[in-house]
Symmetry: C2
């Protein structure tokens, strides 16, 4: 039974999910670098009955649910850290032991039927499907009772925490506001109160002026490396237009977003030799009106270095490179 | 030139240290599992001239500085993330680009002359030397002008961030208070204001009563796994007596600390099959009187799982085990 426990020394929640220790580690060997199908992979065609039933599917025509022929599937997480069996309700044994059932929603997006396709090599159409599924499931989960925030994220590569090699993303809805999002909301709210502007819009204006940290831009979106990048090649994607919520994206904006997404992931893939990475989308929490001051964005964190004792002990990151140098490297990579 | 940059969205500092990218990665193969000496290792006997000069040495009798014959050496870090060449002084290009020179002090403790000895197998005497050197260098660095906090930490194993396999620890003095220490100080101060007790002393009293999370205890120290453990087998060591400052340890307390240190590291080494880990010491910052409310402690974080997109995006940790189960496993491991 998943439990949340509150750290009495920081006030932060931790999720205890011993059941997740039982999930299979399936970094199956790629017998061929471009194998389309792997008979033992739970996320490949033909194994749909092994996974939990799909909650969303794209591309399958007139066939039975949970059968092959799809372009993208979303399923419940078989080994969830949080689930909806009980409610989030804070109890305590004493002032040091504060806990709750770890309520939440956890889903997996199987982004492609192709067993070993890297997201950097998806077609634009496939990326549009992925982004559309993010939006659809974001809206569905954020409308669930008790869900206060939803995180969409991807772990690419074993050392970035992916336990299954077939390319997939995850969506987790939580009954609490995560501390990192809370901090961003607070800071952008304060900035708005003080200057009557969105701090992200101000940052985009500066990056457009300075140019040195920009990776790519198109009509509607910009990608740059943040001035105080925590890790080498940390790269963000943001809408140039002010918008607090990812799920407000229109179809034409999704097309534009798919383009920059593809370019940025391709450049990172080429520039870093297929390094493992994580990305996540920070967007307005479901229950709060943040329209004026918050600005949704994607943060991509390549895993080229290891946070160690210093980072764990201080909360300060050491970046052994500069975003200006790194952005230049990525700008110079040609798109084939 | 190392630089600190302030993240305008969180107010947190990041250290940019591109020079560190040039440090050698020397996880030399262990030709023999217990090789005492490796000719290519910078931390072994005979290579003292390759390292920066020692700032502290134990065990060498009547020989030249920076020559063999020592039991423990402390040297300046050859590839420091921070140094004392310039001062910490906050400047800005604009409201988004706030920076400073990354002033600080960075030293390496070569804990043993033995090339492949694991700390879990040190003699008590060797561990006492290590803890003594921590104390001596802590006092020296915290007395440097501009230094506000000092972190003692260790990275054991390549995947825990150690770039050199010969066992060593690090000490870094910083001109700022790290956010994680700041948070602990604030929370323990508030607890003291409210209850007139130290929150860590209260926690120790609870652990002694409940027993389920205790790993080991002796006269003066206790080791337990925290209730809201962030990672499997996260283990703490604390003095049972109230003390805010590591450097106030007496010689007899250091003997007692060396004993529990050895037992705990041995149990983790056996229980987790020599898993990589980090540890760090949280102690009162140099400049503030925290005597009443703060309580120094060691946090050991084995690296058995990988924080991934969820943790990076939320700041919430998922622990796939419980501290009660894990503490029981370690309690049952016999000391040989």
């Amino acid at each position: 039974m998943p439990q949340m426990r509150k750290n009495p020394l920081t006030g932060k929640w931790v999720i205890l999910a011993p059941e997740r220790a039982h999930r299979p580690e399936s970094h199956l060997p790629h017998y061929h670098p471009h194998v389309e199908h792997h008979i033992e992979c739970h996320f490949c065609y033909g194994n749909e009955q092994i996974t939990p039933p799909e909650v969303l599917v794209y591309g399958r025509q007139e066939a039975l649910p949970n059968s092959p022929g799809w372009e993208l599937r979303v399923i419940s997480n078989k080994f969830p850290a949080v689930d909806m069996e009980k409610h989030f309700s804070v109890s305590c044994n004493n002032s040091m032991e504060v806990y709750s059932y770890a309520e939440g929603k956890s889903e997996v997006i199987i982004e492609t039927p192709h067993h070993s396709k890297n997201m950097a090599h998806y077609s634009l159409k496939q990326l549009e499907l992925v982004l559309n599924s993010y939006k659809e499931r974001y809206i569905a989960i954020s409308n669930e009772k008790h869900i206060k925030s939803v995180l969409i994220f991807k772990n690419q590569g074993k050392s970035a925490g992916a336990s299954i090699s077939h390319s997939h993303s995850q969506i987790i809805g939580l009954p609490i506001l995560p501390p990192l999002l809370e901090q961003e909301l607070l800071l952008s709210k304060n900035h708005y109160k003080e200057k009557n502007t969105c701090i992200y819009c101000d940052m985009i204006a500066l990056e457009l002026k300075e140019k040195s940290r920009i990776v790519f831009e198109n009509d509607k979106f910009i990608s740059f490396m943040p001035y105080a990048a925590k890790a080498p090649f940390e790269t963000w994607i943001l809408p140039k237009f002010h918008s607090d919520s990812f799920e407000k994206l229109t179809d034409s904006q999704i097309k534009n977003l798919a383009e920059i997404w593809k370019v940025v992931l391709y450049k990172l893939h080429e520039g870093l030799d297929n390094a493992p990475y994580n990305y996540f989308i920070h967007t307005s929490p479901a229950y709060e009106n943040t329209e004026n001051y918050y600005h949704w964005h994607v943060e991509i964190i390549p895993r080229t270095t290891t946070p160690a004792g210093f980072e764990l002990g201080t909360g300060i990151f050491i970046n052994i490179s500069t975003p200006e140098e790194n952005a230049k490297i990525l700008r110079e990579i040609e798109i084939k």
